[in-house]
């Protein structure tokens, strides 16, 4: 059904369709698009946000699209990544690369913690447990005012220049900031592509398609689920860390359940369980919100209506619908 399964199959005909071409070179295509992307966006900071939310949705999609579990607590993974990166810089004076590593580690750890508690529940219950646990995480960070700034948010994640092999790069410059962050996002897309193409990637989808059969084939379903959730946490943690560096603040709203809901919307809009879907969903959603909210203060009306239309008429999401069209 999804393009990851598709990639395993043999090419059907000698003439390679655009879709098969896209699948075979998926990570490279993402890289190419990302490089020219800021030139067509209304402003660079928005382009960076799209990269970051695309990455966040990519990590979420691993659990939602490929594993088939709806999580409503991914804000906890994204937010923990952001806070740990920010705290490492503000309170411990770590260099930027170590802070990013701290963010990824934070995402992984938080995913492990939530995963261990929640992974045995199914369906809507999984969504609710993850939401409840992420609310508890919200509260924890909210109360730890000395470390997180509480409701005022964490300020002072000021990285003016980054040293790279003796090069001093001006991180305040918007285009440079974009390409530095893009480098991380592209790397993450390559890693994700490798995971999905690996035998483990096939197991993930086997668990989604038929749990009983996967178990009968000798795979540990619970362990697969947990590991996938933790991996997803790593991607979301990285996205959070990059967000902290980009905005130079971490708002407490990053842990709010609306941030969890946002990523579900982005993944669905783009196409769940597709490789390009999350990035496309992030781009469409954020650009739409941006453009419409400059036009009118009633942007929520238009965004909501488009959302309803998507669910009714394009349930496979933008990219999913395109794929289905190309196969006809």
């Amino acid at each position: 059904m999804t393009d990851a399964t598709e990639s395993i199959k043999e090419p059907r005909t000698a003439t390679v369709s655009w879709y098969e071409f896209a699948t075979r070179h998926r990570a490279s295509i993402v890289a190419a698009v990302i490089l020219v992307f800021p030139l067509v966006m209304p402003f660079t900071a928005l382009a960076v946000n799209i990269l970051i939310y695309g990455l966040y949705a990519l990590g979420f999609n691993l659990v939602f699209g490929y594993l088939g579990l709806l999580s409503f607590g991914h804000a906890a993974l994204f937010g923990t990544g952001a806070y740990l990166c920010g705290i490492a810089i503000v309170h411990f004076g770590w260099p930027w690369y170590a802070a990013i590593a701290a963010g990824v580690a934070g995402g992984l750890l938080m995913a492990l913690l939530i995963g261990v508690l929640a992974i045995r529940t199914r369906g809507i219950y999984f969504a609710m447990v993850t939401m409840a646990l992420s609310q508890c995480v919200y509260y924890l960070f909210y109360q730890a005012v000395d470390l997180t700034g509480g409701e005022n948010g964490l300020r002072g994640i000021n990285v003016r220049t980054i040293d790279l092999f003796g090069l001093r790069i001006d991180f305040i410059n918007p285009m440079i900031r974009y390409y530095v962050i893009a480098a991380f996002v592209i790397a993450a897309f390559f890693v994700m592509s490798r995971i999905l193409a690996s035998p483990f990637g096939a197991v993930i989808e086997a668990v989604r398609e038929n749990e009983t059969r996967a178990r009968a084939s000798g795979y540990d379903v619970t362990k697969t689920r947990l590991l996938t959730f933790v991996l997803s946490g790593g991607f979301c943690g990285l996205a959070g860390a990059l967000q902290a560096l980009h905005l130079s603040i971490v708002p407490i709203e990053i842990l709010h359940y609306e941030t969890s809901g946002l990523v579900v919307m982005i993944a669905l809009l783009g196409g769940m369980g597709t490789f390009f879907g999350p990035m496309i969903g992030a781009a469409v959603f954020l650009v739409l919100e941006n453009v419409v909210s400059v036009w009118t203060v009633h942007w929520q009306l238009i965004v909501g209506a488009i959302f309803i239309a998507c669910v009714l008429f394009f349930p496979a999401g933008i990219w999913g619908t395109l794929i289905a069209r190309s196969r006809r």
Partner: protein, 294 residues
């Protein structure tokens, strides 16, 4: 802080149960739709909010609170029927994610429409004159209107119970929730049953919004917070179980109230902690069927 007298704890417990009754009222419509249709109605809070605004409008054109008590649920219920027919029905059988997302989008649209019609600022909503003031309940004073809300909740619950358990239509609803295919084979129009359940669920949401208006005033965003609370009550009680929702609602009320006494700043997170604990120990909630919507 002053010592904890017996009266204070008793009053606190009472306040908790009273708050719990209000939570039950918020949650019962959501729980009904959840359990019978397996539709997670994210627009529940928006229906609740529209209920309050419809009440506000009816009063502004010369109605009174008592007329609203009847008219608001009917109007919101009719609106709910239309929403089910046009938007929800095409999604049955497509999995739980799609109705959830559709209603999520719908709540955006409803909130924004109310903002356009009534403005972004809230409005005061006065308590009906005969229900103003506080009465002595033995351990302290308690607002009369809150007691009225508890009574109204009890009436709604009783009516709902009689309808579901004692009428033949209620029997069909319960059967439809358990196994829609068999019910369909038996010649019952299941889609009509679902239509009506959705209508009842939204009517109760609107009714709850109207009753909440004198407690907190009306504002377009008022549905947001109760949605989270209603979810917790529904999930903890077990999806589709009305008795479970009642028990869970009261429990959540008491938990909030006792947290308020000892660590008030934790009152909000306490209900999520409760939900996490209940679900980890018993994933289907108090009275839910295991495996539903897996």
């Amino acid at each position: 802080m002053a010592g904890l007298s017996f009266d204070l704890i008793a009053l606190q417990l009472f306040a908790g149960l009273a708050l719990g009754a209000i939570y039950v009222l918020f949650a019962i419509g959501l729980s009904l739709i959840f359990g019978m249709l397996t539709v997670v109605n994210f627009a529940h809070g928006a229906f609740y909010m529209v209920g309050a605004y419809v009440g506000l409008y009816l009063i502004s054109i010369g109605g009174n609170f008592w007329i609203c008590l009847v008219a608001v649920p009917i109007l919101i219920g009719l609106f709910g029927l239309a929403v089910e027919r046009v938007l929800i029905r095409p999604l049955y059988g497509r999995g739980i994610d799609y109705p959830l997302l559709l209603t999520f989008g719908l709540s955006y649209v409803m909130v924004e429409c109310v903002r356009i019609a009534f403005g972004k600022t809230g409005y005061p909503f006065d308590t009906p004159e005969v229900l103003q003031g506080a009465v002595n309940i033995g351990v302290g004073y308690f607002p009369l209107y809150r007691l009225f809300v508890i009574g109204a909740t009890a009436v709604v619950l009783l009516a709902l119970w009689l309808f579901l358990e004692k009428t033949s239509f209620g029997l069909i609803i319960r059967a439809g929730a358990r196994d829609p295919q068999i019910v369909r084979v038996l010649g019952v129009d299941v889609s009509r049953v679902w239509l009506i359940v959705f209508g009842i669920g939204t009517a109760i949401a609107g009714f709850a919004g109207l009753l909440a208006a004198p407690l907190q005033g009306v504002i377009p965003e008022m549905g947001g917070t109760i949605l989270a609370e209603a979810f917790v009550v529904t999930v903890v009680g077990g999806m589709g179980s009305i008795g479970g929702a009642v028990l869970a609602g009261l429990l959540v009320g008491v938990v909030v109230s006792m947290t308020s006494l000892f660590a008030p700043e934790m009152a909000k997170v306490s209900i999520f902690a409760l939900m996490a604990i209940v679900l980890i120990v018993r994933p289907q909630g108090f009275f839910g069927r295991a495996g539903l919507m897996s």
